[in-house]
Amino acid sequence: MNDSEYVAGNIRADSARDDSTREERINDAFVRVAGTLVDSYDVLDLLSTLMNTCTELLGVQAGGILIVDGAGQLELVASTSEEAEIVEVMIVAAGGGPCVDCFSTGRVVSVSDIEAEAGRWPRFRRTALDQGFRAAHATPLRLHGEVIGAMNLLSTRIGALSVRDSQLAQALADVATVGILHERSFREPGAVAAQLHLALDTRVLVEQAKGVLAQVRSCTMTEAFAALRNYAREHDVTLRAAAAGVVDRTIAAESLVPRPA
């Protein structure tokens, strides 16, 4: 997150120049995402990349993708940070917060001042404020009129996203939906749900692998995730395959190098 860009993007001081840079970055983001969709790709890796791009472009500090599980609850599958504090805010938002409202109504829920929302989501409000977040923006993940989850963005500054930024958020959320569901899913009935469920289970497997790495390498969970991701990229395997290998010990945890995220 580059703070000076964030200020420029919002105040729009020299907007012509900034817009072209921004446009390039938006293009770059879509090209990057499209590129990952061509070959075999890993859903969680794609979503993490997408969330980082999204928060960067929109000048917000944290973001997460949540999808619905078999009991109708939202589960966090990807986020800009694996740090427990950020993850907690995201998960609390999924239990009772803008994400839930967004998911149940299928509409964008914009909270320009979290502190002012005293009555609505007390627990979310407390957790978000504790971590320094002041505004939230939840965008639905939609497919054929059905809502399959939500993308949650958190900002440390009070204020709503501009209409343009809100549209960009929706476009990126749509890309995320395509990423989760895979091109194949649109042709095969039942495959949509299968992709969703696989993404949920992959997240569990990744958490177990992080635990294995944290124990073997005495590293933090964030470092463990980065190590797993790097291993997957270097060996051209999916994050799921890397995580499965680490947990069933066919990939030696010792060979993965923990590094800062």
Partner: protein, 227 residues
């Protein structure tokens, strides 16, 4: 061998809570009934939900006898397909009991939380016949969707956790992370690591979430616990 938890009571309390978990199995698979069970340490089972009396009986018989397709599905973490119950020569005691029921085929799916097997979904049909590949894929996918919710339900039912107040959602990830750490500490499978965490929580009076948090915070190491 295996001990039976008071299942009839639990089935009663859970019937309202987990209604939606089994329904997609009935909707999408060519089966008559289904039951979801979550196993804990020593393979004691908690019935999370059953669609009908026959499903409940099939689970109870297997847990009583310690044998049957669901027991094997849990043990091997693979789908156990029995398209023609009449032709099977495994599980003699279970088959003798099951003969009193109208059951032609049984398909026992493992419930997986990542690499840890947590229980089974036992589907039965009154008539014999196999499940085709698509049905097997759909069943496996449905299991992924309900594995997390079923496990959480089992924890609440086992009184490991207080069902009131806020759901312990933010610690879900820590349970999986702790599973990974404990499987290294004890050099066991993910399934056994998760069972040990649950068992320790139960015996020490703490919640599964609290134990997981202590493991992840490195305040608790299972390798250092007395046997």
């Amino acid at each position: 061998m295996q001990t039976v938890t008071p299942m009839s009571e639990r089935a009663e309390t859970s019937r309202t809570a987990g209604t939606q978990l089994t329904s997609p199995f009935l909707e999408l698979l060519p089966i008559t009934g289904a039951a979801i069970s979550v196993f804990d340490q020593d393979r004691r089972a908690t019935l999370i939900q059953a669609t009908d009396a026959t499903s409940t009986r099939l689970e109870e018989m297997q847990f009583d006898l310690g044998e049957g397709p669901s027991v094997d599905a849990y043990r091997t973490a693979t789908l156990i397909s029995v398209p023609e119950l009449a032709w099977v020569d495994l599980w003699p005691a279970f088959l003798r009991s099951a003969a009193e029921l109208t059951v032609g085929a049984i398909f026992a799916f493992p419930l997986m939380l990542g690499a840890a097997c947590t229980g089974t979904v036992t589907c039965y049909r009154t008539t014999p016949g196999p499940l085709d590949d698509d049905a097997v894929d759909i069943g496996a996918s449905l299991c992924r969707a309900i594995a997390g919710p079923s496990f959480r339900r089992a924890i609440v039912l086992a009184a490991d956790e207080s069902p009131d107040g806020q759901p312990p959602i933010e610690s879900r990830r820590e349970i999986h992370q702790a599973t990974g750490m404990v499987l290294i500490q004890l050099q066991v499978s993910a399934t056994d690591a998760l069972s040990r965490i649950r068992a320790y929580a139960f015996s020490s009076g703490y919640t599964v979430q609290e134990i997981a948090h202590d493991v992840v915070s490195r305040r608790l190491n299972f390798a250092e616990l007395p046997e």
